[in-house]
Symmetry: C2
Subunit: 367 residues, 2 copies
């Protein structure tokens, strides 16, 4: 009975994925020229805690020279910006989390000025939530250690490492092309706007965070607050949806993991928890085509294939969407900004409709 | 003739300001329950330049252990988020810049969940542009010095000071009340949501910027790009509109300076440049009511009164809007988040209509 159910699920998955690959893409119907009608928009914070700091500023005279250099500040909070379209109530909200050295800008207007996934999903009537990771962008970070070092009350060796991606590293590693300045013939990343992409790259202070990243906890709390949400992560945050589910799966209705390695040391208990939620893993093209990073990308890819097998063996609903197998060629690591980003978004939306929305409507499903 | 013109201008100003104070406030007609219709939205960067760094990360093995720790990165770019309402073409866009230790969140949903100025101005059919200051939030910062110190290639003394405001400093200094936890009887700041406000406060790295702050240059370029804009600054950025105009006044159609000291050492040439653009200076209530900071706020206020006199003496159109004189009492330093924030916004919009929009329509005016 259980095996029959798995077989039926596998068949359904195969049929659905085949349908996806064949689907006539509907992106042509949606343009920025159409009015965008919203039911609601705004921003708020999830999480955060008050801590005492003895280095409010890095100067002995403190803030504005008033001599105040100690007090309580808030850390670990996660800033979230959101928009709800006119018919947003009919669908499960989508939370889009950015990767390393980036902010939620990843999902907004592309470097060459086209519509990003946030607006496209909105126009497809999905409420979209854009968090900045804890310790990044509008979420802020804890500056105490840096100021303590400047004040001489702490050794410089205590400073956490800050990460930034150089232009020369990003180009080949993100698979814009084989070497800096050279694109693959079928490259989808808008390389003519690479300078604009470089402006999105900002310092990453995640090394100062504790082992259980507060972003994971905050994402699970956000899903509960939204009474159900699909969590999407990219690159550094690619497995954050699953990490959030391992903390509290209650609000998480679907998980989308884009271009990151999947852990191979999860316990059967953890796999079992994750198997209760539909999972989509997405990879772009040219994984083996940049010699310096081919081994890394192939290892990354196969680790997720293994993860998907484990989840499905535990009765889960996990799928790999390797874009070339779905008719989308030339996609980079920044696939949400690629020239075919809306076609890729359509594939994601079809998966959501088939694996998350359909289950929401049916009360007779396996769960 | 010139004196007569100035007299007429002064009378017009007096009549307009009187009308403002008496106006029946129209905020009741606008609520979040109404659909928000947008013509456009998105984000982009202004400015930015490529520099070489020898400390891409703070670890000798570099990014992801690939041994790469040098390369080019982009710095001094300014992230700008924007929305254009359905009839946004009819009005001059408004650029809202945040203050110290804050991000553009200042102008979004208030700490207690009400509509912020960005959405209210949108609903009043103004295009709104929200930059994050250079070296803050989604604009990123240059992490080179920090990483060099960690790598031991630079002394800790070279580190620029980072500023953060503690809860205990912000409460009285921002005039939420006389002492931490105690509000003024007529306090307009939503002190019950003070914890949420604390989450907006993030580290300020402006001390690492050059003397001519790239945000000023970027703001003047943004105004030109928009073919005319009103620049609004608050607190740390309160005088940024004027600083941008002193770099290039071409695109700046109006300047709104909120709660900051005005420089008293401007040359007559500089005053003359600023006198070509309408200027509104805004202060809230209780300037003299927190003993520890009363002298500072009163000095701040009088420096702007002096600035306004200088500008008007040079033929300009500058006005002080001290809110208690306009029927709004109990406003804090964070007046765009106060409970009467939409009433204050109405006063600002009336000033814009009378001093910026009216001049745009007339080709027979003095300029």
């Amino acid at each position: 009975m259980k095996n029959a159910g798995q077989f039926a699920k596998a068949v359904r998955r195969y049929v659905l994925l085949g349908a996806l690959a064949a689907v006539t893409l509907a992106t042509a119907g949606i343009t920025k020229a159409d009015r965008l009608a919203l039911k609601d928009q705004g921003s708020f914070f999830v999480g955060g805690r008050s801590i005492f700091t003895d280095a409010l500023t890095g100067t002995p005279t403190g803030f504005l020279g008033f001599g105040i250099n100690t007090g309580n500040i808030t850390v670990d909070q996660m800033y979230v910006q959101y928009q709800v379209p006119e018919r947003g109530d009919k669908h499960v909200p989508v939370v889009m989390v950015h990767g390393c050295c980036l902010s939620s800008k990843s999902y907004e207007t592309t470097p060459d000025g086209r519509m990003g996934w946030n607006e496209y999903f909105l126009r497809k009537q999905r409420a979209v939530y854009l968090p900045d990771q804890v310790s990044r962008a509008r979420s802020g970070f804890d500056a105490t250690i840096y100021n303590e070092i400047r004040l001489g009350t702490r050794p410089a060796a205590d400073m956490p490492a800050i990460r930034t991606a150089s232009h020369e590293f990003a180009w080949p590693f993100f698979r814009f092309g084989p070497t800096m300045g050279t694109a693959f013939p079928n490259e989808q990343f808008p390389v003519e706007a690479f300078d604009e992409f470089g402006k999105q790259v900002i310092p990453d202070l995640n090394a100062e965070l504790p082992a259980v990243n507060p972003t994971w906890t905050n994402l699970s709390a956000l899903a509960v607050k939204l009474k159900g949400a699909i969590l999407m992560g990219h690159s550094e945050s690619g497995f954050f949806p699953e990490q959030a589910a391992l903390i509290d799966p209650a609000g998480i209705k679907g998980m989308i993991t884009i271009e990151v390695g999947c852990p191979t040391t999860l316990t059967s208990q953890q796999i079992s928890t994750l198997a209760r939620i539909p999972i989509l893993v997405i990879f772009g093209d040219h994984l083996a085509d940049v010699p310096a990073y081919a081994e890394r990308w192939m290892t990354t890819f196969s680790s997720c294939e293994q993860f998907i097998q484990q989840v499905n063996a535990a009765g889960g609903d996990a799928a790999m969407m390797h874009l070339p197998k779905f008719g989308q060629f030339g996609n980079s690591h920044m696939l949400m900004q690629d020239k075919n980003n809306l076609q890729v978004a359509d594939l994601v939306l079809k998966w959501i409709d088939g694996h998350v929305e359909s289950k929401k409507k049916s009360s007779t499903g396996p769960r």
